[in-house]
Structure formats: structure tokens, C-alpha cells
Amino acid sequence: MSVKQAEVSTTSPRGHIGPAKHLEREPQSYWRLALQSLRRDKLTLTAMVFILVLATLAALAPVLTDLLIGVGPNQTNPDNALAQPYLGPYLKWHLGVDIRTAPRMLRESGGVSHWLGTDQLGRDQLARLLYGGRVSLTIAFVAAFITVVLGVTIGTITGYFGGRIDDLFMWFINTMVSIPGIYLLIIVSAIFKPNPITLILFLGLLGWFDTARLIRGNVFKVRALDYVMAAQALGASATRIMLQHVLPNSIPIIIVNMAIDIGNLILVESALSFLGLGIQPPTATWGSMLDRAQNLLFLRDPVTSAPIALHLIIAPGILITLTVLALYLIGDGLRDALDPAMKNV
């Protein structure tokens, strides 16, 4: 539609009505404008690249662990438990600063270079981080997909039809949000000891309420617009109006909401796994790697009394924080790009 308008104004016979020749520009569509605004947003782009790199690393976890380390994520080595990260000494070795530490560490680990050290069972931390990223990211992305599908479907239907259906679903949603979500999740996962698939289902099935309310609110607004009435007057079916006219109006909300949702889900999953209720050992997730890390805080080297397990706490936490941060930034950036009215809020 916008294309036609642009043509009309520029090729109008009374040339002075259209913009002057040098001000002419390409016809713009909504998505092109959004993409343009996104392209200028360096912060959001950085966040997107970060998530992409992380996802690639996680997807290539088996190859990378073979290549870089040579031991699997669950391979224990009690003789080399709580080894410090090898990366620093390795660099010092090759720079000629310290030529003793690195070879000694290699001897202790039996020739395996544990770039980020090992945990209390002698498992390689980098391998666990990579494999854990696979589980954490998959859980968050798939669960977010479920929440979006459920939330959009129910939000659109209740918002469009209103009445009894709306009352029923709103009663259910109001009930569910009256129970603090983490209580529900703790209870559900304490009762039904989840594996990754059931955990995804729990997170997805207990996470769609806010999305549904958001979409419902938007559908209420759109439903009252003239073009919906026009479609109704033309005899379009309810399904067609919802899919063709109402749903596209919710797409910006859906996209923004999804990015933030994935971030939230990573936080929730890591908190559950940290409490020992999420993914059960030995499967690594970023949260479960911090499980019982509290006790590790107090471990000290008997000789130098330096803390010896700090690397086990820092790395997973930083990864969780950066991933969630990146997803929140993507959400913010997309909101700016997709909804110019929301800019700078």
C-alpha cells in the first residue's frame, strides 16, 4: 500500500505537490524501517552476535571439546579435582614468564589441558560449560516457543471473542499468577523430578500467562479498529480475521516479548537447577554447575590458604549474566526498532 502512495505522490502531474527531486527516497515498508533502525543500533547488534556465537559454540560442543580438551563433560578424574584454569599458566609459559607451572599442571592432569580448570570431581569445566550451554539454551528457547504459542493463541482468542471464554481464561490466568511462579515451579519439580523434556514442558506450561494477557490487551485495541469491522462486514470468518488482520498487529509484541522471555527462562532454569530441582546430575547446565557451589566457596589451599574453587563459581555465573543481559538488550532494541513510539522509554 505504501508503495502505491509513494508513486502517486511523486508522479503527480502537478510536480510541486510531491517532494522535491533531491528529497525523494525509496518507498519504505514497516519491516524495512525496523531493519534500518536496527542496523544503526550497535548495542543490539552486538548482543545478537553474542547470542549467535554462544549458540554456535553450544551446538558444536562435541567437536570443540574433542578439539580443545579431549575429555567429555562427565569424565571424572579424582586425582586432578579442583585444578586451576590452565589458560593463564599456558600463556605465561609461551610468553616465557613462568616456565614451571604449566608443565606441572599438564603432568598432574595427565596431559589434558583444562583451560578453565576442573570441578570437585575432576571434570573439565570448559567442556561442561559448552555442553551445559546446549541444555540451558535449548530449554530456554523451546520453553519460550511454547509460552509464545500458548500465550498468542489464548490471548488472541480470548481478546477477540471476549464474553464467557474470556471470563473463563482470565479466571484461570488470574488464579495462576496469584501463586508466585517460583513456588509453583519448585513444587512441581520437587514432586516430579524433571528431565530436560519435562522441565521444558513445566516452564512452557507455567509461563504463558503474561504473554496471553499482553496479547489479549492488544487484541482488544485492534478489535475496535475500523478495518476489522470492514472485514466483518465483508463476511470474513472469525478465524480469518484473527489470523489475517489481528495477529499481524501483535507481531512486534510477540517478538519483543519472546526475547525477554528467553532471558527470564534462562534465569528461572538456572535458579531451579541451582536449587537442585531442575536438571538432575550428571547433566551439566549453567545453573546446576553452581549447585552446592556454596560449599566450594570455603575451600582453601592448605598451604597458601588461597581460595581454590573460585573459577567454578565465576565462569557459569558470568555466562548466565551475559546471556540474559544480551537477550534483554535484544528485547529492548527490537522494541525500539519495531515500535518507534516506544523509543527512549
Binding site: 508466585p180 519448585i186 566457596l297
Partner: protein, 354 residues
Amino acid sequence: MSRYIIRRLLQAIPTLIGVSLISFFLVKSAPGDPVLAMTYDPKISQATRETLRRQLGLDQPLPVQYVRWLTGLVMRPGDATAEFSDEDTGCSYVSLLNYTFCNSGGGVLRANLGTSITTKQPVWDRIAERIPATLELTTTGLIIGLLLGIPLGVLSAVRQGSLFDNLVRFFAVVGNAVPAFWLALLLIFLFGVYLNWLPAGGRRTVSLSDEFDLVDRLRHITLPAMVLAVGWVAVLSRFMRAETLEVLHTDYIRTAKAKGLLPIQVWFIHATRNALIPLATILGPAITGLLAGAVITETIFAWPGMGRLTFDAAIQRDYPVVLGTVMIASVLVILGNLFSDILYGLIDPRVRLL
């Protein structure tokens, strides 16, 4: 106003019924037999177990069990008055329905949440002894959050685009993204282990004299309250910044500036007062966040509050306690939302409560 409050309270009834239904059936669908959990002693005979099961009503269909849990009304087919006569319950046999109705004196509606499986204490007592600790921790966290978050948000709005503004916004985003439990671990390591300034957990130092020691209490609450406060500062500074930015463009602010008032007066007296109004809307729902945050923080810091009670009860499968905490938490959430709506109407006369 009172009509509005009454209407809202009436609206809360179906919600609470929903909460009770969902949590009851969720807990009942759990695998495992609560009677076996209570009678793990091998000397207890199978017949005794069955008697106990019958006394607790666990042999009955779920809807009957739900009614009993909710109202304390025990229903049995046939004349069972003789069987239950030795208990301190009033039973009567209604021959018309061929059912025996007993009043067990309990029921959630009469504020009787049942008995804990692990400690055999009344659930209500277990929760009541934990509530002060949770309130102490969450309100401290919230107050610190308000005291820091509001001024930071206002200042960052009036200095929009400055280095300070960017720092505050950066902190707000990071503060939202950092997992509370990891932040807690870092704080425990830094202040509890490395510097050894503050205790790593607990609410007070256990001593024989059991005296109230303010300094000791403050030392214990500092770290968990800080963890909760970080989340609050992140949310509130972001919120106050957005609200203040809106207010700053209004005419009365320009008037205040034109009168020659000090910038501090304009920002913190004129602008902040109006920017604070919408805060009422987020403080009610914030109760949900407070309760949720308390679970994780209390568990890490071994803080003897309601959140940790829920966590422990869920792990130990102490279902009456789990059900009790969920019901209490939901009541708190609903009251919090109602309270914030009323507050909003009170402080902003433009909002009419009908």
C-alpha cells in the same frame, strides 16, 4: 470507596478457590503414599496403616478429600458414627442420604491448614513462626531499594544522556540480568569468606543467653538484604527514570523553574511527587516478586523464613506445609494487588475507583 473494596474482595473469592483447587490437585497427583511416609516404622502393621488412611480420609475420592481439606467436613457413605465416635468430632448420620457427616474441626476456611508430616506441628504454627523473618528480610530489601532506586532514577532523568544517566541505566539492565543466587554467592565469598567481615548465613548468632543483639542482627541481614535490594534498585531506577522524564516536560515544572526555585527543589519536590504516583501500581504486584526472591535468597543465606520453609517442605514432600504456604502466599499476592489499586486511587484523585 468501600463499595469498591468489597467488590474487589468478592472478586478474590473465585481466584482463591482456583488457587486451592490447583494446588490441592497438583499436590495430590504427586507420586508416593503419604501414609507410608508417616508410618515408615516396620513395626506398624498393615491394618494400622489402613485405619490411619481411613481416619485421614485418604482412601476417599479426591473431591471428597478436597472438601474435607477446605471445610473440615468429613463425608462417609453409610452409618459410620460408631467408627468415628472416639475422636473429638461431632458426627451425625443422615439416613435420607445414607451418609455420615462429621465435623473434624479443621479446614482451610477455618484457618486450620492441617498438620505437618515431618514435624507433626500444626502447619499454621510452622508458617507463623517463619513469617516475621521473611517480613524482616523483604521489607529491609525493599526499603534499601526504594531509598537508592528512587533518587537514582530521578537524577538520571534530569541528567538525561549524561555519563551518570548511562551508568544508572547500565546498572539497571545488568541488575536485572544477574541471577540473584550468583550475586549472593559472590557476596558471600567477598564479605563472608575473603574479607570475613559479615556472617555467610543465618538470621542471628545462636547463643545461650538468647538476648536480642541489634548489631548481630544487622550483620546477618546485610548480605541477603543487599541481594534483594539490587533487584529493586534495578527495577525502581528504570521505572522512576521513565516516569520523571514524562513529568519533566509538563508546564508546572517549567513554572517552578521560572519561579527561580533551586533545581533540587524542582526535581525532588515538584517532579518526584508526581512521578511517584505510578509507583503505587508496581508495589502491589511487587509482593509476588518479593516472595519469589525470598525463596532463593532465604535458601542460600539459610534465612529461617517462609521461602525456605516452602523449599524444604517441597523437598521433604511435606504436602500440608506446601499447600499452606502456597495458600498464604496467594492471599498475600491478592491483598497486595488490591492494596496497590486502592493506594493508587487515594493518592491520585484523577483515578476514580468505581
